[in-house]
């Protein structure tokens, strides 16, 4: 069963036609086929299949600008480790010229879906939209900073 209604697909295609300007690369880290298995904690992935549908929806809505790579972490754990991904499902968003520094961990539904779409669009346009004051503050960062944002669908 499809997670995404056709109306949403059509709306997303129209939106991306207007708002995407350059290439976006999505990397989906997943553990396929484990949704219905009863596995010890950390080995199953209840939302990997739905998250793949979500990532494919985005790619298929703008195939000229969005590419999707699927990484099966059960087959390629070294890749996940090298990319700093320690949970599945995770979607990382990067551009053609820049390493992916935005990630969504878990099924991005509810309030997280608009944030995912916004991240794709801003990455495509290279548009952070921050003020000069914020940029001046960020310029003071000398070491890497990781920001985890915990959110819920509602």
């Amino acid at each position: 069963m499809s997670l995404i209604p056709d109306t949403v697909r059509r709306e997303l295609e129209a939106r991306f036609r207007d708002r995407l300007a350059g290439p976006v690369h999505l990397s989906l880290y997943t553990r396929p086929g484990s949704a219905r298995l009863i596995l010890p904690a950390g080995l199953g992935c209840a939302t990997c299949d739905e998250t793949r549908q979500m990532a494919e929806l985005i790619q298929q809505s703008a195939p000229e600008n969005v590419t999707l790579e699927v990484v099966d972490v059960s087959r390629d754990p070294a890749r996940a480790e090298a990319d700093g991904v320690d949970e599945v499902p995770t979607i990382r968003i990067g551009s053609a010229s820049d390493a992916a520094r935005i990630a969504f961990q878990g099924l991005p539904v509810g309030t997280e879906f608009p944030a995912l779409i916004d991240a794709v669009e801003r990455t495509s346009r290279g548009e952070h939209g921050l003020s000069q004051e914020s940029l001046a503050g960020l310029a003071r960062l000398k070491e890497p900073a990781e920001v985890l944002v915990f959110a819920t669908p509602t």
């Binding site: 904690a41 209840a46 939302t47 700093g84 949970e87 820049d98 390493a99 520094r101 935005i102 990630a103 969504f104 961990q105 878990g106 099924l107 991005p108 997280e112 944030a115 995912l116 916004d118 991240a119 801003r122 990455t123 290279g126 548009e127 952070h128 939209g129 921050l130 003020s131 004051e133 914020s134 940029l135 503050g137 960020l138 310029a139 003071r140 960062l141 000398k142 070491e143 890497p144 900073a145 990781e146 920001v147 985890l148 944002v149 915990f150 959110a151 819920t152 669908p153």
Partner: protein, 81 residues
């Protein structure tokens, strides 16, 4: 979460990860998440609530040790990790 993503777009030193709190209860417990949005910087310090851009960026920079905390507000705290 959008502001964290925008910071990651603006700075090569920032990495933003949006975590679905219900799906990863162990992480939520580890970082003492009781309300959302709940931000954790460098897995060591946190703040809570939707903030305007300037306050959000300052809160991240404070917890990253770049600028001194202003000493006020109810957003500070040990992330608990």
């Amino acid at each position: 979460m959008s502001l964290a993503n925008r910071m990651a777009l603006a700075s090569p030193r920032v990495r933003a990860v949006c975590v679905e709190a219900n799906e990863f209860p162990q992480l939520s417990t580890q970082f003492r998440v009781r309300g959302v949005p709940h931000m954790v910087v460098n897995r060591s310090a946190s703040f809570v609530g939707a903030l305007p851009e300037g306050q959000f960026v300052s809160a991240v920079l404070e917890r990253a040790g770049v600028i001194e905390e202003d000493g006020g507000g109810d957003t500070g705290g040990d992330a608990g990790a």
